[in-house]
């Protein structure tokens, strides 16, 4: 394998892991409410920016990251409690517009609480590149991949081995039946917002040392996460991960071998082609529409 290809693959996997984390957040909320949460990207932004702030307050990095995840989770829970839950009974499109309003509100708040400048977060283990097969790998990329794998394992355990996780899955399969079985659908929605907030924050903290962070980074990261979730098949956990990695790799390959200006175009052309051939995404549910 040529060194250039390896380098491109490293970049693609790192970006892909971030997209996968954001995509999982989209899928979890979608599963419990059918809603696309357009504020998901803002969770990513808050995670990164809050960590920068907590570091400035003098907290050590692990504590700052933990505090930022907690703060973002609180914001996500508040979004559900104060807005989404209050509008229950409204159509899905209305709920989506509410999350769009929330994303504008959160971006505005971020530009007030912090500022409109670009901020850097120091890499967790320094910036000294590691040489691998002629290519170089940043230690931060290892952090991104490692934490993503750990998160995936934890999510798998949560959804397959805990009563709560199973209740959430049940709700995604059949809301009414889940409710009849005594599952509090409202609580499931709340937990899914909290979980998505935490996932978004983690993605934001992990990526901040590589790409910097600012009050408006959420727009693009949210867009990519949504694209990854759709590519893999909305609501599917493995689909979100597959979609994220494929999107990251496609972008990196396009930027490395075709044109960096057109990397987004190539990524979206691939997504359009996949959707035309597989209208439910790569791993989406194949169930026939019931009438």
């Amino acid at each position: 394998m040529s060194a250039q290809l390896l380098q491109v693959l490293f970049a693609g996997l790192t970006a892909g892991a971030i997209y996968a984390l954001v995509a999982l957040g989209f899928s979890i909320i979608y599963n419990s409410s059918q809603v696309i949460n357009f504020a998901q990207g803002e969770f990513v932004m808050i995670g990164g920016m809050a960590t920068v702030s907590f570091l400035h307050l003098g907290l050590p990095l692990p504590l700052a990251a933990l505090a930022a995840v907690a703060a973002t989770t609180l914001v996500a829970l508040a979004l559900d409690k104060l807005a989404v839950e209050r509008a229950r009974g409204a159509s899905v499109v209305t709920l989506i517009i509410i999350t769009i309003g929330a994303s504008i509100l959160l971006r505005g708040l971020a530009s007030l609480v912090w500022d409109k400048n670009i901020h850097a977060l120091p890499a967790f283990n320094g910036d000294k590149p590691i040489a691998v097969g002629g290519a170089t790998l940043l230690p931060q990329s290892l952090w991104v991949l490692g934490v993503s794998l750990a998160v995936l394992a934890a999510l798998w355990w949560f959804f397959n081995r805990t009563l709560y996780g199973k209740a959430m899955l049940a709700t995604s399969h059949n809301r009414l039946a889940a409710q009849l079985a005594g599952i509090s659908v409202r609580r499931v929605l709340l937990v899914s917002f909290g979980l998505s907030g935490a996932l978004g924050a983690l993605a934001g903290i992990l990526v901040a040392p590589i790409t910097f962070t600012a009050w408006d980074v959420g727009v693009m990261l949210g867009l990519k996460g949504f694209a990854a979730a759709i590519l893999g098949g909305l609501g599917s956990g493995p689909g979100a991960v597959l979609g994220g990695l494929l999107l990251g790799l496609a972008e990196a390959l396009a930027a490395g071998y075709v044109s960096s200006a057109y990397k987004d175009v190539i990524a979206f052309v691939i997504i359009l082609a996949v959707l035309v051939l597989m209208p439910g995404g790569l791993l989406g549910r194949r169930a026939a529409e019931r009438v």
Binding site: T94, A102, A227
Partner: protein
């Protein structure tokens, strides 16, 4: 023609015509005229988009792409190839309509959020191409656009533009109202309710969806072209993802499946940022909060919620 519309819709159209006719009395300066013209242009896009989203139930997160293409097509023909703007504009709108026809066929097979993604992707592709092909488009900084000219006289001044846009908006609203009441409009609503059921009673859902998609893209392109010639400048941000979201928000905000809702939504969400400008840094916060509150307390949108308030109540 008016007689064929229902009484409520006829009243609404007359009220809108009256509003367009009387509004200049309240428009004291050029700035207010400018805002009113932008409202009208956005409303034209929203009336078309509402046919697609509100009536046919097909979402598009890429209509700003068609809007921008309409503007750039006209600008490029006029500036780079020396066409008279009055010829460039219809050719540009026609080309965008053709493009929508070609891409609409495969894309409209998708449903719900997948359709949203596909149209969003289309919008992103258009924006990136516009920002990158700087030989034609001037790149991310945009390009200047010559004014519309009729028989050698440039259409200049806010007043002239106001009447042009006002007349076009009324024409679009009249067209949309008629379309909704026509058999085609009923077919669209049937397909919104249930695509399978609509096909069972013989509605060619693919053809109807494509037709309304093409119509809405054409209206967006026309408004985009007019906006470019009016403001004299165009940038790729006209086609951005955020702008597409803004257009959909206007439709839902005013009230889906309500043509007047689309106009009201465009009016409110175009003027609100102007009203909030004095708030400076707080502008986004207030704008987002207003959006959330309105949708939480008026989940069906402004016009349908208010209309329900004034309807005589029937006791059970």
């Amino acid at each position: 023609m008016l007689a064929r519309l229902g009484a409520a819709r006829r009243g609404g159209l007359l009220a809108l015509a009256l509003a367009v006719a009387l509004l200049p009395l309240a428009l004291g300066n050029q700035y207010l005229y400018d805002v009113a013209i932008l409202v009208g242009l956005n409303a034209i896009v929203c009336v078309g988009l509402n046919l697609l989203i509100g009536y046919a139930g097909q979402i598009s997160l890429g209509h700003a792409g068609f809007f921008a293409l309409g503007g750039y097509g006209s600008a490029i023909l006029a500036v780079r190839y020396g066409w008279p703007p009055l010829a460039a504009l219809p050719v540009s709108v026609g080309s965008v309509t053709l493009l929508a026809f070609l891409v609409g066929r495969p894309i409209l097979r998708l449903k719900g959020h997948y359709l949203a993604m596909a149209t969003l992707g289309l919008g992103v592709i258009i924006t990136v191409v516009l920002a990158t092909e700087d030989r034609f488009t001037g790149g991310p900084d945009g390009m200047s656009v010559p004014p519309l000219a009729l028989f050698g006289r440039a259409l200049a001044g806010e007043r002239a533009w106001y009447w042009l846009v006002g007349a076009l908006l009324l024409a679009c609203v009249w067209l949309a109202l008629n379309l909704v009441e026509s058999p085609r409009g009923r077919a669209l609503r049937a397909l919104h309710g249930s695509e399978v059921a609509a096909e069972m009673i013989g509605i060619d859902s693919a053809r109807h969806k494509l037709a309304v998609f093409v119509l809405s893209a054409g209206l967006a392109a026309a408004a985009g072209g007019l906006t470019a010639h009016y403001s004299g400048f165009i940038t790729p941000s006209q086609g951005s993802f955020l702008r597409s979201i803004e257009l959909v928000t206007m439709v839902v905000f005013g009230g889906m499946a309500s043509t007047f809702g689309a106009v009201v939504g465009a009016a409110v969400l175009t003027t609100l940022p102007q009203l909030l400008t004095p708030l400076k840094d707080y502008e986004m916060v207030v704008f987002g909060a207003v959006m959330m509150f309105t949708m939480i307390f008026m989940p069906r949108g402004i016009v349908p919620t208010l209309a329900a308030l004034f309807k005589p109540r029937t006791r059970p």
